[in-house]
């Protein structure tokens, strides 16, 4: 029927008869999840508007059409045209994907954006996704995330020994190296497990999403910063044949809409995380605690080991890691005299107590 509709439109007596496309998009986010799922719906709407209705995309949240972590596969084999997620979800298929989302103590959102659009990040990403028949587009950053909700204080690296924490991915591997116990739990069991002490800690996203999950009702301390996800980048990906089969103007429209939404996502996260943090501080009286410098330094050493191990897994992962490290060194030096120096000046003016 899709073909039939398209034929009908083609046969319609118009001055310019242009082919129209009915697409589906599958995401890794629950329905209505602020910014993340909203961003996907926004992208679909913008592509339709900019293309004057030539591309219509119906967006499906996680589980609606396929389970959360199957968007990659369904777009890869072409059953669905567009997908969204975060690249580290696909580490089981190719470890190199992780550098395009987040690595512990890696680049923040601003740095990632610089790597993709000002460095060789996006080129490497396209190279990594090509064997999977996908074309990736950066989907915006969550900003620096939070360290997580703890019922035990972390004063030295030894406090991680025996700490039971829900923390997936590379961050989890670092915690395991520090002597912690990584517990994988389904989303629905995290709150109850934290409340009852099955786990001592969990990480989630940032204030906006953490507030919704109500973790402040189940944990004592809210740690920062989220060293394990310093600026997690989201992604949109398109089936390669389908994207390349589009007329050039539509390809440009898609690229433009992606960049526009990428910008929208980080802006939303920054604005609304700020607002949610105020609520957590002033209304929920949450106790904010910073990881001690020495703990962060120790974790960073462990993280370097973990990243080196991951990078050694495949040739492309080695290549991506090298490029990433070099880029981080260059922008890092610049950041020290720009962002860091500036934040150090203004930081004491903001209160972390209600």
């Amino acid at each position: 029927t899709k073909e039939k509709e398209e034929e009908k439109k083609v046969a319609a007596p118009a001055v310019v008869t242009k082919k129209t496309y009915q697409w589906r998009m599958v995401t890794t986010w629950p329905p209505k999840l602020p910014v993340l799922q909203d961003g996907c719906e926004r992208l679909a709407r913008r592509i339709e508007e900019l293309s004057d209705g030539r591309i219509k995309i119906q967006v499906f949240a996680a589980g609606e059409l396929v389970p959360a972590l199957e968007s990659f596969q369904s777009v890869s084999d072409g059953t669905v045209e567009v997908g969204s997620g975060a690249a580290y979800y696909w580490a089981g298929k190719e470890p190199a994907t992780q550098w395009f989302a987040a690595v512990p103590f890696g680049l923040n959102g601003q740095g990632m954006s610089a790597w993709f659009h000002g460095g060789d990040g996006l080129k490497l990403w396209e190279e990594t996704y090509a064997p999977f028949n996908l074309i990736p587009r950066p989907g915006g950053s969550t900003g620096v995330q939070m360290g997580g909700w703890f019922n035990k204080k972390i004063e030295s690296i030894d406090d991680y020994k025996g700490l039971k924490m829900r923390i997936p991915g590379l961050g989890g591997k670092v915690i395991a190296k520090a002597g912690g116990t990584v517990v994988l739990l389904p989303g629905g069991e995290i709150f109850t497990s934290l409340e009852r002490g099955v786990i001592d800690a969990t990480e989630w996203v940032g204030p906006l999403h953490d507030l919704r999950m109500g973790f402040y009702q189940a944990a004592k301390y809210y740690y920062y910063p989220g060293w394990h996800e310093p600026g997690t980048y989201l992604e949109y990906f398109f089936n390669k044949q389908i994207y390349e089969g589009l007329p050039k103007d539509l390809q440009h429209i898609i690229d433009a809409a992606c960049v526009e939404t990428e910008h929208w996502v980080l802006s939303q996260f920054e604005a609304r995380n700020g607002e949610a943090l105020q609520t957590l501080i002033n209304e929920k009286k949450v106790e904010l605690v910073q990881f001690p410098d020495q703990v962060l330094a120790d974790l960073r050493k462990l993280a370097e080991e973990v990243i080196a191990e991951e990078a050694a897994k495949t040739p492309i992962a080695t290549k991506v890691n090298e490029a990433f490290k070099n880029f981080q060194k260059v922008v890092g030096t610049w950041g020290t005299v720009s962002e860091k120096a500036y934040y150090d000046i203004i930081q004491p003016k903001f209160s972390l107590k209600g």
Partner: protein, 441 residues
């Protein structure tokens, strides 16, 4: 063509009645309508959905609780337990059924996985009730209804899902569900008490002669002996959850090990029994999850045909036409009706994202609205033809219980459920009071 999803429901209902196994009927119907609607290639998404069933970690509790239940049953411990329960609660009419409701509520407060609760109680409680002369409909209805209590009594998976979609904190929802959950428990008990008073033959008390034959001392001795195992298990399962030793899913394994230990301790253990337990566990586990695979195909085709769009459009158009309370009534009725055919996850994903913003804009309390949806969704487990609670019960009960008994038996409980929903609608404080007290406004 536009109403293909609706035709698919109708076809499924009729075809299910033929009596071929549910999972294949689901898959065959889905395949047929999918081919009419969108052709073959879309079905490439089916394995991804089945993979979703395979990776659903919460569901691991089902085989573990089945293992526990079958072990108790085969080792004869269950029989002893239920005999004693009969002695204890069998003195009054309906006493046994009431104790089933209470156990269902306790299991609900610990896990809330409907399949696990229904299977465990279906294996253990239904045979006892039948032996005590209970009407088949009342016995099965009590078990399948009590098994769904875990959906509303916290912790509850459906509340977590809804909370996530609406943006209400899980803690608030869990607190908000406490009184509505207790209300339903109370209503079930009330119904059983009334019906056993009106129909003495349906839920008989133990014959006086049998009671008199046992001295008080014997009774105490038997109780001590027979009540120890269940108390031990209850403490093991619930205790490990509330003490934070195990997650609700893992606690099921504690129960399974506990049941095995009890069997060994009572010198009832043998390789023969172990084989039977393991093999029955395989069959019951397959039964539950192969149905879910069939449902995965059905859900895929429903979405592929634009069924969710159809429902969303209809719901969206309602908001402009009627008064706020009228819209609420229509919405609740609609969820109830759709609950006959779809499972709660599908409904949560289709309805809640459309409805919640409209309802909150109307000024309804978000916590209250979420609880209403949860109570309503609980009913979907109990409504034929596609009620999971009913399927699970059918699979574990003796052959003399037919689907007909189960369907007829659930009707009064569905009605009670509607009464409960109406009470929460009329008294929103039931859902909104406790969260405010516990967490502040």
């Amino acid at each position: 063509m536009e109403f293909l999803p609706a035709w698919m429901f109708l076809a499924l209902t009729i075809l299910l009645m033929a009596g071929f196994p549910v999972t294949f009927t689901l898959m065959g119907t889905a395949l047929c309508f999918g081919l009419i609607g969108f052709g073959w290639s879309f079905f490439n998404l089916l394995p991804l959905r089945i993979w979703g069933v395979m990776t659903n970690v919460t569901l691991i509790a089902v085989p573990l609780f089945v293992f526990m239940g079958v072990m108790l049953e085969r080792s004869g411990l269950a029989e002893e337990l239920l005999d004693t329960m009969g002695l204890l609660f069998g003195r009054i009419r309906g006493g046994l059924a009431i104790s089933v409701v209470v156990v269902g509520a306790l299991l609900g407060a610990s896990t809330g996985i409907v399949g696990a609760t229904v299977v465990t109680m279906g294996l253990l409680a239904v045979p006892t009730m039948l032996r005590r002369g209970y009407q088949k409909e009342l016995a099965t209805g009590t078990v399948s209804a009590s098994g769904t209590l875990g959906q509303i009594i916290p912790p509850s998976i459906v509340l977590v899902l809804i909370g996530d979609i609406v943006g209400v904190s899980v803690g608030d929802l869990f607190m908000g569900a406490v009184f509505p959950g207790l209300l339903l428990v109370g209503l079930f008990v009330f119904y059983i008490a009334v019906i056993s008073f009106l129909k003495p033959g349906w839920a008989p008390a133990m014959p006086k002669a049998e009671l008199d034959a046992i001295t008080r001392r014997q009774l105490v001795a038997r109780m001590g002996k027979a009540l120890f195992p269940p108390l031990f298990l209850m403490v093991a399962v619930l205790g490990s959850i509330f003490a934070g030793i195990a997650s609700p899913t893992e606690a099921a394994a504690v129960g399974a090990v506990g049941a095995t230990v009890l069997t060994v301790a009572n010198r009832k253990f043998s390789m023969q029994i172990l084989h039977e337990v393991m093999q029955t566990t395989v069959r019951l586990t397959c039964m539950v999850f192969i149905i879910l695979c069939g449902a995965a195909a059905f859900g895929l085709v429903f979405r592929g045909l634009g069924g969710d769009g159809l429902v969303r459009e209809f719901l969206g158009s309602l908001a402009h036409q009627y008064s706020h309370n009228m819209v609420l009534a229509i919405v609740m009725a609609l969820i109830f009706v759709i609950g006959f055919f779809l499972d709660f996850i599908e409904i949560t994903f289709i309805h809640v994202p459309v409805l919640a913003p409209i309802m909150i804009e109307f000024g309804f309390d978000p916590v209250w609205f979420c609880i209403l949806i949860a109570v309503n969704l609980q009913t979907s487990f109990m409504t034929p033809p596609f009620g999971f609670s009913l399927f699970y019960l059918k699979a574990v009960t003796p052959p003399e219980i037919s689907t007909g008994h189960i369907y007829r038996g659930i009707i009064p409980f569905v009605l009670v459920q509607i009464v409960g929903l109406a009470i929460v609608v009329l008294f929103p404080q039931l859902a909104t009071w406790l969260p405010k007290v516990v967490f502040g406004p």
